[in-house]
């Protein structure tokens, strides 16, 4: 297994300043938050067969902020969807914590998503009929559980949405909506949070805020975050960046800076890189 999740001595903020709550090197022996073994995902058959993921081995470190990057069609979204149990795999095995999710049925997968996984999507994260607070506690409500009030308070404080709890999503700005989405993902203290282009629809200031909160949830709340992005600046918030091309992990970068990421992407892509300010569309292949 490639050592792509080697523990990083210090969590990093974009500016490079070590965060106070970053995981210590002692986490090296801790089990991975998520892990995939010889993961293959192919669409179609015969001549039309398209391989989105080609025998990928990957390990997502617990308490780390991992970014997945790659050019359009590289399979980065597919990888995330598979890791999160949203998509089925063609072959290979995936674990979240100690649970092998590739062995789970639909009902157990649903429960796993509800209890152990948090999601932040690019857009349309919130149910329009529910208030911000109801959206945050929805997964727990669905499960028929109560959300730990202390934890909830902390999450809400961390994200600075205390004064927006009674509002409906339509009354919130895009950045506020994404913050509520992050709060929802954090509320159930999941094993792992998946964020799919969480800043894709935001202006750069709101985007930076949301990324800061994701970073904070790793540093201060000791959560594990996996983020798919095509934005080098967004990726620079992560502890480690995995680069995908043609369905394989081709490179990884620890303690990334935006420039370093941009440079790698440039090499991978050959010609052009999806610059953060060039367009705001998702580059996911699915």
């Amino acid at each position: 297994m490639p050592a792509i999740s080697e523990p990083e001595p210090s969590g990093r903020t974009p500016s490079g300043t070590p965060s106070p709550g970053s995981p210590a090197s002692g986490h090296a022996t801790a089990p991975a938050a998520a892990r995939a073994e010889r993961l293959t995902k192919a669409y179609g058959a015969g001549d039309t067969r398209v391989v989105a993921l080609d025998t990928v081995d990957v390990e997502i470190g617990r308490g780390r902020f991992t970014a997945i990057m790659g050019p359009s069609g590289s399979g980065k979204s597919t990888l995330m969807h598979c890791l999160a149990g949203l998509d089925t795999v063609t072959s290979g095995r995936i674990w979240i914590g100690d649970t092998e999710i590739t062995a789970l049925g639909e009902r157990q997968l649903t429960r796993l998503r509800r209890d152990s996984v948090g999601f932040v999507f690019q857009a349309f994260n919130l149910l329009p009929t529910l208030s911000a607070e109801e959206n945050i506690t929805l997964p727990a409500d669905i499960a028929g559980r109560r959300t730990d009030p202390d934890w909830l308070k902390r999450v809400i404080e961390t994200l600075g949405i205390g004064d927006r709890l009674r509002h409906r999503p339509s009354e919130l700005s895009g950045g506020q909506q994404q913050r509520v989405a992050v709060a929802r993902a954090l509320a159930s203290r999941p094993e792992i949070i998946f964020a799919d282009e969480p800043t894709g629809n935001l202006d750069s200031r709101s985007g930076a805020e949301v990324l800061g909160f994701l970073r904070g949830s790793v540093d201060e709340l000791a959560q594990t975050v996996v983020m798919v992005t095509h934005d080098p600046v967004a990726a620079s918030y992560a502890d480690i960046v995995l680069f995908l091309a043609d369905g394989r992990i081709v490179e990884q970068l620890t303690a990334p800076t935006a420039d370093a990421v941009l440079e790698r992407m440039g090499r991978l892509d050959g010609q052009s890189v999806d610059g953060p300010s060039i367009d705001g569309r998702s580059s996911g292949n699915r």
Binding site: R113, V117, L127, I142, G144
Partner: protein, 856 residues
């Protein structure tokens, strides 16, 4: 633009499926009704035309065509007329005719084997001609007393063979017959049972006397027209006879059937109209949702230069296409429906052939008019809304815009209409002029319905808050989500619910009226009927005197009172004419029926030459005890009668006894010869055991299966049953509207699921199980259905209340609210909600999570 519209139509055909079904059902019902009634009237017109004699001579009757005569009296003429008519130049043949309907045919075990359920059993003299409706297919013609030919359909139904011993119960009494032949209809069998006797036997047994006939049937010589012949026959027979040509006879018969058919047709079309109304709300909802979902697409079209008119037209063209396709399919289904109806009435004995379905031009015209008008009307508002989409909509995020004008104007307008409707209902219930009150009731019903449909969106929030208030507690966040989803678009929810409301309101109103009618009858039976038992035919048909004689012979029978009913015209001294049924009664009527006499005595009123009249009639025409009035009997005799008693009518109007004039049986028999009994009231003799006497009477009348003995509770039960049959029939017809309303709920849910695809994907992604998702859709559906049920029941109970108040003038004084029906409607609505959600819920739960999230 047209091409784009057609593409759009085809692209959305799945979403239009249920709208198509709604159009189809409404059109099929309309077309089926028209084809059905056209087929029946066509068949009978042909039958009447082909079988009517060139010229017929019948005794003159004062009865207008279509007026029902249940007296059992048969109008006759002398058979000496046959020879006189035969002598008229131009007459090829004059045949004696005897035809008596209302006889009863029983087998050896005293079972009624004649027609039941409306069609008559007819005794006819056997005179085969080229116009006979039957041909002798086996055995021989009847010759002499005790021989008869039976129609083949009756023979087949009851496995009758030649030589079978049967009995006929006719006015003069019953007599045995042996089946000597079987005759098969060469035309459509209208459902009647025919018993053919030779002429002499028919005269003696059916008319009670030799020398009498019911008609003289004339065949014209070649070259003599019917009209010419009629003119020649008329002076020969003189006055007191009706002479008719074949065309007139056929026309009169058709007219008589026509009045009956048009009642059926109007009733069926009325129910179709309700279904159409419900269909409109379904289609309106569909187009509203399609337009809302396509806001960006429409915005793009506008941005690319399409004018408002073009956008509007594109929606309207789509609607009209839907109407045309739906009408065409509905027309086809209508043919099947007409055949089904024909098969259904075949069960009652009317043997129409499905292949004879009449397809006249008004049928397709009506079908396409209904289909296209319904869709065009439904799409009008959504099309206008589509046209008002701004080009900017193409650029905006597709999130559901908070569309629609504020509801305040609607609240004011709708509220006003509701209040007007309520005022009309109150006025209808309290006003004491029945004529205007009925009109007000109609206006009130219509206004309150329209007003409630208008204010529905405003009521949705408070009502659903209450109805679904327990959802969050019981079903947690799933319950909260479904309740809020139902409230998300109050217009849509209320349009869906009001479709259900219409049908259920009618169910509720009619159930109140039916139940109140039953309760009123109960109390009036208690109040008016003093007799221990009533012997009667369940359908009100008259029966011969031998029944009363049989009952009289039963030990333990005390007082026995026979009553008869004859349709007459009262002519007051002021010259005004009133058509009523005159009641004949033997003495003692006041001891078996509680009357409240203003003046006079029943004994005096039933004496020869006297009559009892209702107090209302007396007041209207300034009559009092001793006044004289004239009564015109069906055979044309005008009889002056003296008022021997005046009866107060308020307390017993439903049973009919108080309102009708009453005369002695002897009087009635004198002027309506052959009149039969329509009721026999029996009091048990002092000291006799009621149950024993009842059993003994049952045995005594067993050979007359057309009548039954009932005590007061049996009598109430009979009336309740008759009301229930009618109610069930109406409920059955309302089922069409309710089915379309349920389709509407399915439609709304299915389109909502499509609209909320991303939301569903999100919910599934964050851990909502399929089962929970299905429950969410189901609960939303149940709450919408319950909303409709609550509105419908509220409205219906109000209507029922007003109608009962109105009808209390006509004797429906007791109000009874059928709570079991109300509860059944609520439970039924919840069940309907569950069923309606099956498909949409399954579809929602099967959505692929990733596809759903990525859905635009």
């Amino acid at each position: 633009m047209l091409k784009a519209t057609l593409r759009g139509f085809l692209a959305h055909k799945g979403r239009l499926l249920l709208s198509l079904l709604a159009v189809l059902l409404s059109v099929a019902f309309v077309a089926g009704t028209l084809m059905f009634t056209d087929t029946i009237s066509g068949t009978f017109d042909r039958l009447f035309r082909n079988t009517a004699p060139d010229v017929s001579v019948t005794p003159h009757t004062e009865l207008a065509t279509g007026r029902q005569d249940l007296s059992g009296s048969v109008a006759t003429l002398s058979d000496a007329l046959v020879a006189r008519v035969a002598a008229v130049p131009g007459v090829a043949a004059a045949r004696p005719g005897v035809g008596v309907s209302g006889i009863v045919l029983v087998d050896a075990a005293d079972h009624n084997i004649g027609s039941i359920g409306g069609a008559p059993t007819i005794g006819v003299n056997w005179v085969p001609t080229s116009r006979s409706v039957v041909d002798l297919t086996s055995g021989s013609a009847p010759a002499g007393d005790g021989q008869a030919v039976i129609d083949a359909d009756t023979a087949r139904k009851h496995h009758l063979t030649l030589g079978e011993q049967l009995r006929v119960i006719a006015g003069p009494g019953s007599f045995p017959i042996r089946v000597t032949g079987i005759a098969t209809f060469n035309t459509t069998n209208p459902g009647a049972t025919l018993v053919f006797l030779d002429t002499a036997t028919a005269q003696k047994r059916l008319l009670g006397r030799a020398g009498l006939l019911t008609s003289v049937d004339v065949t014209a010589a070649p070259g003599v027209s019917d009209d010419v012949l009629k003119q020649r026959v008329e002076p020969v027979v003189g006055s007191g006879y009706d002479v008719k040509t074949a065309a007139q006879t056929a026309k009169d018969s058709s007219q008589q059937l026509g009045t009956f058919l048009s009642v059926i047709k109007d009733a069926l079309l009325g129910f179709a109209g309700i279904a159409v109304l419900v269909g409109i709300s379904l289609i309106l909802n569909t187009f509203s949702m399609l337009v809302a979902q396509r806001t960006r697409e429409l915005g793009l079209m506008r941005a690319l230069g399409a004018s408002r008119r073009q956008v509007n037209r594109s929606v309207m063209v789509e609607a009209v296409l839907l109407g045309v396709v739906g009408s065409t399919l509905g027309l086809l289904v209508g043919v099947g429906l007409a055949q089904l109806l024909i098969k259904l009435i075949g069960g009652v004995g009317m043997e129409l052939k499905g292949s004879e379905i009449a397809f006249r031009w008004p049928t397709p015209v009506a079908a396409y008019a209904v289909g296209v008008i319904v869709t065009a009307v439904s799409a009008y508002l959504p099309a206008r809304r589509a046209a008002s989409v701004s080009p900017m909509a193409a650029l905006r995020e597709a999130d559901t815009p908070g569309r629609g004008a504020p509801l305040r104007r609607r609240a004011v307008l709708g509220g006003t209409v509701v209040l007007l409707g309520a005022a009309a209902l109150v006025a209808a219930g309290t006003l004491h002029a029945a004529g205007t009150a009925a009109g007000l009731l109609g206006i009130g019903v219509l206004l309150s319905l329209i007003g409630l449909i208008m204010t529905g969106p405003l009521l949705a929030r408070p009502v659903i808050r209450v109805l679904g208030g327990w959802f969050p507690r019981v079903f947690g966040s799933i319950g909260a989500l479904s309740q809020r989803n139902a409230l998300r678009n109050p217009r849509r929810t209320s349009a869906t619910a009001s479709a259900l409301m219409i049908g259920l309101a009618l169910v509720a109103a009619l159930s109140v009226v039916g139940s109140s009618m039953g309760a009123s009858f109960d109390s009036q039976v208690d109040k008016t009927i003093g007799a221990d038992f009533i012997v009667q035919n369940g359908q009100g048909q008259p029966f011969p005197a031998e029944v009363a004689q049989a009952v009289q012979g039963v030990p333990g029978v005390g007082l026995l009172v026979r009553t008869q009913a004859v349709p007459v015209t009262e002519i007051a001294p002021d010259g005004s004419r009133t058509k009523v049924n005159m009641l004949g009664s033997t003495s003692g009527l006041d001891r078996v029926v509680h009357l409240s006499l203003r003046s006079g005595t029943v004994a005096a009123a039933t004496a020869p030459g006297a009559v009892m009249i209702a107090s209302t009639y007396a007041d209207d025409h300034h009559l009092a005890l001793g006044s004289r009035l004239t009564v015109l009997f069906p055979n044309g005799t005008q009889v002056p009668l003296t008022v021997g008693a005046v009866n107060n009518v308020d307390n017993n109007s439903l049973t009919g006894i108080g309102k009708s004039p009453v005369a002695g049986t002897a009087t009635v028999q004198q002027y309506a010869p052959g009149v039969q009994d329509d009721g026999v009231f029996v009091d048990v003799a002092a000291g006799a055991d009621k149950a024993q006497v009842k059993a003994a009477i049952t045995t005594a009348i067993a050979k007359d299966p057309q009548v039954q003995v009932r005590d007061q509770s049996d009598y109430k039960k009979l009336i309740r049953q008759q009301i229930d049959v009618l109610l069930n029939l109406v409920y059955g017809l309302l089922a069409l509207a309710i089915i379309i309303a349920v389709l509407g709920v399915v439609n709304t849910l299915a389109l909502s699921v499509v609209e909320r695809t991303r939301e569903i994907g999100l919910l599934r992604a964050i851990g909502l199980s399929r089962r929970q998702l299905r429950r969410m859709v189901r609960l939303e559906s149940v709450v919408i259905a319950l909303f409709g049920a609550v509105l419908g029941l509220g409205l219906g109970l109000l209507w029922g209340l007003a109608a009962q108040h109105l009808l209390s003038l006509k004797g429906m004084q007791s109000l009874s609210i059928p709570w079991t029906t109300v509860i059944a409607v609520v439970l039924g609505a919840a069940l309907v909600g569950l069923l309606a959600a099956l498909g949409p819920a399954l579809r929602a739960s099967r959505l692929n999570v990733l596809d759903a999230i990525a859905h635009e």
